[in-house]
Symmetry: C2
């Protein structure tokens, strides 16, 4: 199996299993990697043989210790590169994801550690995602989705779960950036849209958007 293929599967499984439960379904992986389900079944069988995952037929897949180790390394490379592109090379946070998707496959520990060191060994990337350290240790947080926030709650935006340019530009347009503080004025019962106050401006955001914003409570 090509190294890049392995890395893409493991990264995807890691990302899916950390958001949701530990077990990941084939269809989730297929959608994420834009592959036919048949291809994913094959891929998981091989990754199981290679001992990167525990794949149980028609049930689900989870990473082995070895698989998680590699997944965390890819995630680290990806997030260090994103941070470096934004902080040192002047890219916008909405354009770095695609470049980092390629750079993450360049396997050179010294290079990544050097970039991390220049950046001051950051713990979060420009999207608010935690960056694993060299040993794969990751800062655990008590962050929640804004969609889980409470009426009259005060929150700080800590990250996003959607990295598409379209979404990131939408946020920027509305000043919904990392570190911004916001107040939940009300939640519409019908469609769960939120009326919030951010930077003294009031705006309505859909539940779909709120699902993709990670916040920390300030109360």
């Amino acid at each position: 199996m090509r190294q890049e293929t392995i890395e893409n599967y493991l990264k995807t499984i890691y990302n899916l299993s950390s958001n949701n439960t530990a077990i990941v379904s084939n269809s989730q992986i297929a959608i994420q990697l834009e592959l036919n389900p048949a291809t994913v079944t094959e891929g998981l069988r091989k990754l199981h043989e290679l001992k990167y995952v525990i794949y149980e037929k028609s049930y689900g897949t989870r990473l082995t210790t070895q698989g998680a180790k590699l997944a965390l390394d890819i995630v680290r490379r990806h997030r260090i590169w994103e941070t470096y592109l934004v902080k040192e090379l002047g890219f916008g946070w909405d354009e770095v994801h695609a470049i980092a998707e390629e750079l993450e496959h360049v396997n050179n520990t010294k290079l990544i550690n050097k970039l991390a060191s220049i950046l001051g060994n950051p713990i979060y990337d420009p999207h608010g995602d935690p960056i694993p350290d060299e040993k794969g240790k990751i800062k655990k947080s008590n962050f929640i989705k804004l969609s889980e926030g409470l009426v009259k709650g005060n929150y700080t935006i800590m990250g996003v779960t959607d990295h598409s340019s379209a979404f990131l530009r939408y946020l920027e347009k509305n000043a919904l950036i990392i570190g911004a503080k916001l107040f939940v004025k009300s939640i519409e019962e019908f469609d769960q849209s939120l009326s919030i106050v951010c930077q003294k401006k009031e705006l309505i955001i859909s539940s779909k958007v709120a699902e993709c914003i990670i916040v920390q409570s300030n109360d």
Copy 2:
């Protein structure tokens, strides 16, 4: 054909045809890319169809305008990365080639131009190889191999044609670095080894080494 495969062929053909004549043989490519000759025949047939090369059966191959354009772009990316790794990230000139082999395939013009700009748009990389500009224009030079140098000639080292770590470390050990000035004291008739003076120290170098050092005359 995978983009990376195309890029590796074109880069190799470019490197081989600029040193020697314009036409490159299959066996040269096979050795350089560490591929079976049968594989190279196939590859060249496909590159011909894609109009990247003119491949004439049992005769040889040369780049088309389109092929040369892409080749020069890869060479640019490779050499900018090498320079960036040495100048900005503190890598040794003997260790950057392998990393640049991977980084060169990341296709993002803005990224390369940004790196180049930080470096002050350099014309030579750490090995003395010229870096094509964004349009593929390359600085032509009157450099010669040290093996073509004359007795009692004064020269400045401008580059190398072998990028192996072993060779680069040998040079460093003997203070034969880019920019060093040297004087050819004598040439041994029997084996064409050179007796040179560099940094006030005298040393003997084999014709094989002299073949791989690029110099400019100071006389």
